[in-house]
Amino acid sequence: MRQKIKPVEAALAAAGALNVVEMYKKALTIRYFEEKVDWLFGRGKLGGTTHLCIGQEAVPVGVASALRADDYMVSTHRGHGHLIAKGGEPARIFAELLGKSEGYCKGRGGTQHLCVMGLNFLGTNGITGGGIPIATGAGLSIKLSGDDRVAVCFFGEGASNQGTFHESLNMASVWKLPVVYVCENNMYAMSTRFARISASDDVAARAGAYGIEAAIVDGMDALKVAELAGKVVGRVRAGGGPALIEAKTYRFCGHSKSDPRTYRTREEEEMWKGKDPIKRLAAAAAEFIPGSEIEGIKRGVLAMIEDAYDAAEKGSDSSTDAALDGVYAKREDIVPQGNIQSA
């Protein structure tokens, strides 16, 4: 039975509604962005490769809901969702994937090397586990500066077998750094099932060895992720030292653009698709807004993604002459203390 809503609770529920609807829009943005990228690859419009996060949207959206704009974020090879959750503009990400000079990194980084200093987004990363110590260094930077920001570090369960994971967790714990390590455990590193290559059932168990508090959350449920992230980020921000969140999730798509998915069953995929985080968020949003508005949001986000792509496609191809420039930073190029620069 439903309880009667008192005025204060009504206000809280309204705030919650705003959050839920916003999270739904963000998750949908990521989903439609990734589906567009997939479609573009299918038509040979993009070069190289890409790693999509379709199915995993609840994790970046939930975690980002607990962050401030000045918090740092370090991402992985599967990073479009992280960047969008941190405020990245789809048009500029498309531009980067298309190799346009309007891309965040002038088309030099592409999908796996996407950095936006203006958003304190320290990069997607082409090296499995490569971002973990970088986030740890960002945490050290915050600690030295004495402010109350946090650094969030996304990584996959596969990366937790890298030395950098263990070295970094140890350092962060010894130095009490404000880092939130977020493992997106989608069960498979490329084709390799975690159970096959891990001595522990959960990544969270590993944190215990380094005296780091860890919690496991349903990574298909953005609200649960947001709730946990809110608590954890608050504790880390208050100086409680590093923490680890393990979000159990699943990628609905293949590992990268060409993956026949021979290492898992279609039944398993269907089971996980039943937990689609977008559908769950839509259902949560429907508690607050009418169905027609949900449909309106869908159409709006879809149109926004299409417009973003069209705008990006019209951009200028990064000049081949410029390909030889900018290997070294000049003395005057970089403001040594400026950690927030416009992208």
Binding site: G137, T164, S168, V327, A329, P336
Partner: protein
């Protein structure tokens, strides 16, 4: 701390003073490494810095890969970082962060940010430490765009180049030969610190150009003295910076002498000499008037036995012989 304007100090002390000067004048400089607090650093360079700058001289776990990675994170967020790698051999554990991250970042992120990191690496053999504690690995890094490499041979250059490297906005590999730490030399605090990239003519001579860096410069100078006694005047060029390489200075000398010897302690294959010779041949072929000879380590690991080691690492006699061989085509 107040220092005398001109003074004779050791190479070790020169590096200490450069670190002290930068840490003392800039709150945004951090120095990290293993055993750099009470222990004073494996080669005694950091001494009491940890007491003077307790929050920014950070003794780390033995985790070279993640310490280098943390330096990347720090440098992207507004700090200048000096990382001491205890022995250059151990830099292999930090390669991913140096090559795939620090060196790439300015270019691959479209110039938004760069990594002002200095990686200090005590290098070199002649001390009987065997294959994992004796290497000079600069050859491995010559082909890494985005990285700079300096390997000063004098006290004055060690001081100046380190300050310059710290204020460079790019990652810089700073090579310190272990045999140089106790060497004394003059330091002048008024010395003008230039950007990285200039070679130094250590000795003028008209007959043969000898190009080297780091400890090799001292071997080359001793060889030049012996050659002089035999009537051959060598021009010794101390590269100081290996990347960028001041090939102009080398070319100008070779155009004068017509002959070239390169001297290094690292492996001959893919080494500094290989790079210098290729560029000289490309630029100065018409001037070359004799065989070109590279002196360096043959491609073998460095044995621990001091006798075996001295057979493998280059010595003064090898340089004298090489210089003589350049005087003809035979």
């Amino acid at each position: 701390m107040e220092y005398m304007q001109r003074e004779k100090i050791s190479y070790r002390k020169a590096i200490y003073r450069a670190l002290d000067r930068v840490l003392g004048s800039d709150e945004k400089v951090v120095f990290m490494g293993e055993d750099i607090s009470e222990y004073g650093g494996a080669f005694g360079v950091s001494a009491d810095l940890y007491r003077r700058y307790p929050s920014r001289v950070i003794s780390t776990p033995i985790s070279e890969g993640s310490v280098a990675g943390a330096a990347v994170g720090l440098s992207m967020t507004g700090y200048r970082v000096i990382v001491e790698i205890m022995f250059m051999d151990f830099i292999t554990l930090a390669m991913d962060q140096i090559i795939n991250h620090a060196a790439n970042i300015h270019y691959m992120y479209g110039g938004q940010v760069s990594c002002p990191i200095v990686i200090r690496a005590p290098a070199g053999g002649y001390r009987g430490y065997g294959p994992s504690h004796s290497k000079t690995l600069e050859g491995l890094f010559l082909g890494i765009p985005g990285l700079k490499i300096v390997a000063p041979s004098t006290v004055q250059d060690a001081w100046g180049a380190l300050i310059s490297a710290i204020y460079d906005n790019n990652p810089v590999l700073f090579i310190e030969h272990k045999l140089l730490y106790n060497m004394e030399g003059e330091i002048d605090l008024d010395y003008k610190i230039g950007p990285i990239g200039r070679a130094r003519i250590a000795r003028e001579g008209a007959d043969v150009t000898v190009v080297s860096h780091s400890y090799g410069t001292h071997l080359s100078m001793r060889a030049a003295q012996e050659l002089s006694a035999q009537g051959i005047e060598a021009e010794v060029i101390d590269l100081v910076s290996l990347k960028p390489l001041d090939i102009g200075a080398v070319a100008a000398s070779v155009e004068k002498t017509g002959r070239l010897v390169t001297v290094e302690e690292g492996d001959l294959s893919g080494g500094v000499g290989a790079e210098v010779v290729s560029r000289v041949v490309e630029d100065c072929l018409p001037y070359i008037d004799g065989r070109i000879v590279r002196v360096g380590k043959p491609d073998v690991p460095i044995p621990a036995s001091i006798m075996a080691e001295s057979r493998v690492l280059p010595g003064v006699d090898d340089i004298v012989d090489a210089a003589k061989r350049t005087l003809s085509w035979e």
